[in-house]
Amino acid sequence: MKEKLLEIVNIIRDNKQLARLENLNPKDDLRTDLGLDSLDLAEFTVRVESEFGVDVFSDGLVNSIDEVLFKLEK
Protein backbone atom coordinates (compact mmCIF):
# COMPACT_ATOMS: atom_id res chain seq x y z
CA MET A 1 0.00 0.00 0.00
CA LYS A 2 2.81 2.39 0.95
CA GLU A 3 4.68 1.59 -2.28
CA LYS A 4 1.58 2.44 -4.27
CA LEU A 5 1.19 5.75 -2.40
CA LEU A 6 4.86 6.52 -3.11
CA GLU A 7 4.25 5.87 -6.80
CA ILE A 8 1.24 8.23 -6.76
CA VAL A 9 3.20 10.96 -4.97
CA ASN A 10 6.00 10.60 -7.53
CA ILE A 11 3.59 10.80 -10.48
CA ILE A 12 2.41 14.15 -9.11
CA ARG A 13 5.94 15.35 -8.26
CA ASP A 14 7.15 14.42 -11.78
CA ASN A 15 4.50 16.70 -13.21
CA LYS A 16 5.83 19.58 -11.07
CA GLN A 17 9.44 18.85 -12.00
CA LEU A 18 10.20 17.91 -8.38
CA ALA A 19 12.75 15.16 -7.67
CA ARG A 20 11.36 11.66 -7.21
CA LEU A 21 11.27 10.37 -3.63
CA GLU A 22 12.87 7.06 -2.65
CA ASN A 23 10.50 6.32 0.20
CA LEU A 24 7.67 7.71 2.31
CA ASN A 25 7.79 8.33 6.02
CA PRO A 26 4.44 7.81 7.80
CA LYS A 27 4.86 11.20 9.44
CA ASP A 28 5.39 12.98 6.10
CA ASP A 29 3.05 15.93 5.71
CA LEU A 30 1.46 15.91 2.26
CA ARG A 31 1.98 19.65 1.83
CA THR A 32 5.16 20.63 3.66
CA ASP A 33 7.21 17.42 3.29
CA LEU A 34 5.93 16.09 -0.01
CA GLY A 35 5.42 19.45 -1.71
CA LEU A 36 1.80 18.96 -2.79
CA ASP A 37 -0.37 22.07 -3.11
CA SER A 38 -4.18 22.12 -2.90
CA LEU A 39 -4.66 21.28 -6.60
CA ASP A 40 -2.11 18.45 -6.29
CA LEU A 41 -4.05 17.12 -3.31
CA ALA A 42 -7.17 16.96 -5.49
CA GLU A 43 -5.19 14.91 -8.01
CA PHE A 44 -3.76 12.79 -5.18
CA THR A 45 -7.30 12.10 -3.92
CA VAL A 46 -8.58 10.83 -7.25
CA ARG A 47 -5.43 8.76 -7.89
CA VAL A 48 -5.78 7.14 -4.46
CA GLU A 49 -9.47 6.52 -5.14
CA SER A 50 -8.67 5.01 -8.52
CA GLU A 51 -6.19 2.63 -6.85
CA PHE A 52 -7.97 1.77 -3.60
CA GLY A 53 -11.62 2.74 -4.19
CA VAL A 54 -11.64 5.11 -1.20
CA ASP A 55 -12.13 8.89 -1.22
CA VAL A 56 -9.74 9.78 1.62
CA PHE A 57 -10.86 13.42 1.71
CA SER A 58 -14.61 12.69 1.79
CA ASP A 59 -15.01 13.40 5.51
CA GLY A 60 -12.45 16.06 6.31
CA LEU A 61 -8.90 17.10 5.71
CA VAL A 62 -6.08 14.58 5.69
CA ASN A 63 -2.60 15.91 6.37
CA SER A 64 -0.08 13.11 6.59
CA ILE A 65 0.74 9.76 5.00
CA ASP A 66 -0.20 7.84 8.15
CA GLU A 67 -3.60 9.59 8.14
CA VAL A 68 -4.07 8.46 4.54
CA LEU A 69 -3.05 4.90 5.47
CA PHE A 70 -5.45 4.99 8.42
CA LYS A 71 -8.34 5.95 6.10
CA LEU A 72 -7.39 3.23 3.62
CA GLU A 73 -7.13 0.54 6.27
CA LYS A 74 -10.47 1.41 7.88
Binding site: N15, L39, A42, E43, V46, R47, E49, S50
Partner: protein, 241 residues
Protein backbone atom coordinates in the same frame (compact mmCIF):
# COMPACT_ATOMS: atom_id res chain seq x y z
CA UNK B 1 -12.78 10.77 -30.74
CA UNK B 2 -13.54 12.59 -27.47
CA UNK B 3 -15.91 11.63 -24.66
CA UNK B 4 -18.52 14.23 -23.77
CA UNK B 5 -20.99 14.16 -20.89
CA UNK B 6 -24.26 16.00 -21.56
CA UNK B 7 -27.27 16.38 -19.29
CA UNK B 8 -30.84 16.74 -20.51
CA UNK B 9 -30.43 15.07 -23.90
CA UNK B 10 -33.99 13.87 -24.44
CA UNK B 11 -35.14 16.95 -26.35
CA UNK B 12 -34.51 20.56 -27.31
CA UNK B 13 -31.02 21.98 -26.92
CA UNK B 14 -29.54 18.94 -25.16
CA UNK B 15 -30.68 16.67 -27.95
CA UNK B 16 -29.27 19.06 -30.59
CA UNK B 17 -25.90 19.23 -28.78
CA UNK B 18 -25.73 15.43 -28.47
CA UNK B 19 -26.57 15.03 -32.14
CA UNK B 20 -24.00 17.66 -33.23
CA UNK B 21 -21.22 15.96 -31.22
CA UNK B 22 -22.16 12.48 -32.46
CA UNK B 23 -22.17 13.76 -36.05
CA UNK B 24 -18.63 15.06 -35.47
CA UNK B 25 -17.53 11.54 -34.51
CA UNK B 26 -17.39 11.90 -30.73
CA UNK B 27 -18.77 9.65 -28.00
CA UNK B 28 -21.64 11.04 -25.95
CA UNK B 29 -22.50 10.07 -22.39
CA UNK B 30 -26.01 11.43 -22.19
CA UNK B 31 -28.26 11.79 -19.18
CA UNK B 32 -31.95 12.49 -19.02
CA UNK B 33 -34.82 11.56 -16.75
CA UNK B 34 -36.55 9.52 -19.40
CA UNK B 35 -35.87 7.87 -22.70
CA UNK B 36 -37.44 9.67 -25.67
CA UNK B 37 -38.19 8.86 -29.29
CA UNK B 38 -35.41 11.28 -30.24
CA UNK B 39 -32.85 9.39 -28.13
CA UNK B 40 -34.04 6.10 -29.64
CA UNK B 41 -33.35 7.52 -33.10
CA UNK B 42 -29.85 8.66 -32.04
CA UNK B 43 -29.22 5.22 -30.54
CA UNK B 44 -30.18 3.56 -33.80
CA UNK B 45 -27.88 5.83 -35.80
CA UNK B 46 -24.87 5.99 -33.45
CA UNK B 47 -25.35 2.93 -31.25
CA UNK B 48 -21.68 2.45 -30.38
CA UNK B 49 -20.99 6.07 -29.46
CA UNK B 50 -24.11 7.03 -27.50
CA UNK B 51 -24.18 5.88 -23.89
CA UNK B 52 -27.51 6.79 -22.35
CA UNK B 53 -28.28 6.85 -18.64
CA UNK B 54 -31.70 7.52 -17.21
CA UNK B 55 -31.19 9.64 -14.09
CA UNK B 56 -33.18 12.31 -12.27
CA UNK B 57 -30.92 15.23 -11.28
CA UNK B 58 -33.36 16.01 -8.47
CA UNK B 59 -31.63 13.07 -6.74
CA UNK B 60 -28.36 14.97 -6.54
CA UNK B 61 -27.21 12.86 -3.57
CA UNK B 62 -27.14 9.78 -5.85
CA UNK B 63 -24.78 11.30 -8.41
CA UNK B 64 -22.21 9.35 -6.47
CA UNK B 65 -22.29 6.38 -6.86
CA UNK B 66 -24.97 6.03 -9.58
CA UNK B 67 -23.26 8.25 -12.15
CA UNK B 68 -19.72 8.34 -10.74
CA UNK B 69 -18.12 5.85 -10.57
CA UNK B 70 -20.71 3.19 -11.46
CA UNK B 71 -21.75 4.51 -14.87
CA UNK B 72 -18.87 6.81 -15.75
CA UNK B 73 -16.03 4.73 -14.38
CA UNK B 74 -12.71 6.25 -13.40
CA UNK B 75 -11.15 4.49 -16.40
CA UNK B 76 -13.21 6.65 -18.77
CA UNK B 77 -11.51 9.93 -19.67
CA UNK B 78 -13.99 12.80 -19.92
CA UNK B 79 -13.00 15.58 -22.32
CA UNK B 80 -15.98 17.80 -21.79
CA UNK B 81 -19.15 18.33 -19.79
CA UNK B 82 -22.21 20.20 -21.02
CA UNK B 83 -24.55 21.22 -18.22
CA UNK B 84 -27.75 21.66 -20.14
CA UNK B 85 -30.55 20.09 -18.07
CA UNK B 86 -32.72 22.61 -16.30
CA UNK B 87 -36.17 22.99 -14.90
CA UNK B 88 -38.13 26.19 -15.23
CA UNK B 89 -40.23 27.32 -12.32
CA UNK B 90 -41.61 30.63 -13.50
CA UNK B 91 -43.79 32.91 -11.43
CA UNK B 92 -43.92 36.35 -9.92
CA UNK B 93 -41.54 36.40 -6.99
CA UNK B 94 -44.41 37.43 -4.72
CA UNK B 95 -45.77 33.90 -5.35
CA UNK B 96 -42.44 32.25 -4.52
CA UNK B 97 -42.94 28.70 -3.30
CA UNK B 98 -39.90 27.58 -1.33
CA UNK B 99 -40.35 23.88 -2.11
CA UNK B 100 -40.49 24.52 -5.86
CA UNK B 101 -37.53 26.87 -5.62
CA UNK B 102 -35.49 24.23 -3.79
CA UNK B 103 -36.37 21.65 -6.42
CA UNK B 104 -35.24 23.99 -9.18
CA UNK B 105 -31.97 24.72 -7.37
CA UNK B 106 -31.32 20.98 -6.99
CA UNK B 107 -31.68 20.37 -10.72
CA UNK B 108 -30.24 23.61 -12.10
CA UNK B 109 -27.45 24.33 -9.61
CA UNK B 110 -26.60 21.67 -7.01
CA UNK B 111 -26.59 18.67 -9.38
CA UNK B 112 -24.33 20.31 -12.01
CA UNK B 113 -22.01 21.58 -9.26
CA UNK B 114 -21.69 18.04 -7.93
CA UNK B 115 -21.21 16.58 -11.41
CA UNK B 116 -18.50 19.17 -12.13
CA UNK B 117 -16.66 17.93 -9.04
CA UNK B 118 -16.39 14.40 -10.43
CA UNK B 119 -15.78 15.54 -14.01
CA UNK B 120 -12.78 17.61 -12.90
CA UNK B 121 -11.49 14.76 -10.73
CA UNK B 122 -11.59 12.51 -13.77
CA UNK B 123 -9.85 15.16 -15.87
CA UNK B 124 -7.09 15.32 -13.22
CA UNK B 125 -6.68 11.54 -13.21
CA UNK B 126 -6.31 11.41 -16.98
CA UNK B 127 -4.52 14.78 -17.27
CA UNK B 128 -7.21 15.91 -19.66
CA UNK B 129 -7.32 19.59 -20.65
CA UNK B 130 -11.09 19.37 -20.61
CA UNK B 131 -13.81 21.90 -21.30
CA UNK B 132 -16.98 22.60 -19.36
CA UNK B 133 -19.94 24.46 -20.83
CA UNK B 134 -22.93 25.57 -18.76
CA UNK B 135 -26.01 26.55 -20.74
CA UNK B 136 -27.12 29.81 -19.16
CA UNK B 137 -29.91 32.17 -20.06
CA UNK B 138 -30.26 35.72 -21.31
CA UNK B 139 -32.72 36.25 -18.45
CA UNK B 140 -29.68 36.62 -16.15
CA UNK B 141 -28.62 39.74 -18.03
CA UNK B 142 -31.82 41.45 -19.11
CA UNK B 143 -34.57 40.47 -16.71
CA UNK B 144 -38.05 39.31 -17.63
CA UNK B 145 -41.25 39.34 -15.63
CA UNK B 146 -41.72 35.97 -13.92
CA UNK B 147 -38.18 34.73 -14.43
CA UNK B 148 -36.41 36.10 -11.35
CA UNK B 149 -36.15 32.70 -9.65
CA UNK B 150 -35.11 30.80 -12.79
CA UNK B 151 -32.63 33.53 -13.75
CA UNK B 152 -31.09 33.36 -10.29
CA UNK B 153 -30.18 29.68 -10.81
CA UNK B 154 -28.44 30.53 -14.08
CA UNK B 155 -26.67 33.49 -12.47
CA UNK B 156 -25.34 31.08 -9.85
CA UNK B 157 -23.94 28.90 -12.63
CA UNK B 158 -22.25 31.86 -14.30
CA UNK B 159 -20.46 32.68 -11.05
CA UNK B 160 -19.56 29.02 -10.55
CA UNK B 161 -18.18 28.78 -14.08
CA UNK B 162 -16.06 31.92 -13.77
CA UNK B 163 -14.50 30.63 -10.55
CA UNK B 164 -14.04 27.09 -11.91
CA UNK B 165 -12.09 28.63 -14.78
CA UNK B 166 -9.84 30.54 -12.38
CA UNK B 167 -9.37 27.60 -10.02
CA UNK B 168 -8.50 24.93 -12.62
CA UNK B 169 -7.01 26.95 -15.44
CA UNK B 170 -3.47 26.01 -14.50
CA UNK B 171 -4.39 22.38 -15.18
CA UNK B 172 -5.63 23.36 -18.64
CA UNK B 173 -9.28 22.90 -17.70
CA UNK B 174 -11.63 25.51 -19.19
CA UNK B 175 -15.12 26.56 -18.15
CA UNK B 176 -17.51 28.82 -20.03
CA UNK B 177 -21.18 29.70 -20.11
CA UNK B 178 -23.21 29.85 -23.25
CA UNK B 179 -25.84 32.50 -22.61
CA UNK B 180 -28.76 31.42 -24.74
CA UNK B 181 -31.52 33.75 -25.84
CA UNK B 182 -35.14 32.67 -26.06
CA UNK B 183 -35.57 29.56 -28.15
CA UNK B 184 -38.72 27.89 -29.31
CA UNK B 185 -38.42 24.86 -27.01
CA UNK B 186 -40.56 23.19 -24.37
CA UNK B 187 -38.89 25.47 -21.83
CA UNK B 188 -40.78 28.45 -23.25
CA UNK B 189 -43.97 26.50 -23.92
CA UNK B 190 -45.86 28.46 -21.28
CA UNK B 191 -45.52 31.67 -23.31
CA UNK B 192 -48.22 32.49 -25.83
CA UNK B 193 -47.53 33.67 -29.39
CA UNK B 194 -47.89 37.35 -28.48
CA UNK B 195 -45.48 37.07 -25.55
CA UNK B 196 -42.95 35.28 -27.72
CA UNK B 197 -43.27 37.92 -30.43
CA UNK B 198 -42.64 40.67 -27.88
CA UNK B 199 -39.53 38.88 -26.61
CA UNK B 200 -38.15 38.36 -30.13
CA UNK B 201 -38.73 42.05 -30.87
CA UNK B 202 -36.22 42.79 -28.13
CA UNK B 203 -33.43 41.24 -30.23
CA UNK B 204 -31.34 42.79 -33.00
CA UNK B 205 -32.21 39.92 -35.34
CA UNK B 206 -35.93 40.10 -34.44
CA UNK B 207 -36.14 36.34 -34.18
CA UNK B 208 -35.82 33.47 -31.76
CA UNK B 209 -32.41 32.04 -30.95
CA UNK B 210 -31.61 29.12 -33.20
CA UNK B 211 -31.22 25.80 -31.39
CA UNK B 212 -28.61 24.63 -33.90
CA UNK B 213 -26.60 27.83 -33.39
CA UNK B 214 -26.55 27.09 -29.64
CA UNK B 215 -25.55 23.47 -30.30
CA UNK B 216 -22.76 24.35 -32.73
CA UNK B 217 -21.37 27.09 -30.46
CA UNK B 218 -21.33 24.59 -27.60
CA UNK B 219 -19.42 22.13 -29.79
CA UNK B 220 -16.96 24.93 -30.63
CA UNK B 221 -16.42 25.80 -26.94
CA UNK B 222 -15.72 22.13 -26.23
CA UNK B 223 -13.21 21.89 -29.07
CA UNK B 224 -9.52 22.72 -29.34
CA UNK B 225 -10.49 25.70 -31.50
CA UNK B 226 -11.63 27.40 -28.29
CA UNK B 227 -8.39 26.54 -26.45
CA UNK B 228 -7.84 30.13 -25.27
CA UNK B 229 -11.44 30.83 -24.24
CA UNK B 230 -12.22 30.34 -20.56
CA UNK B 231 -14.16 32.07 -17.81
CA UNK B 232 -16.39 33.73 -20.41
CA UNK B 233 -20.06 34.18 -21.06
CA UNK B 234 -20.68 33.66 -24.77
CA UNK B 235 -23.98 35.21 -25.85
CA UNK B 236 -25.95 33.28 -28.46
CA UNK B 237 -29.14 35.29 -28.27
CA UNK B 238 -30.00 36.95 -31.61
CA UNK B 239 -28.46 40.11 -30.18
CA UNK B 240 -30.81 40.77 -27.28
CA UNK B 241 -31.08 44.49 -26.56
Amino acid sequence: MKNYLITGISRGVGFAIAEALLEKGHAVYGISRTMSGEIESLKNKFSQRLNFKSFDLMEAENIRPDLFPQWLTLETPIHGFVNNAAMAYDDLLTNLNLKMLEKMYRVNVFAPMEITKYVIRQMLLHRTAGSIVHISSISVHTGYKGLSMYASTKGALEAYSKNTAREWGQRGIRSNCLVAGFMDTDMSASLDVEQKKRIYQRTALKQETSISSVAETTAFLLSENAASITGQNIFVDSGTI
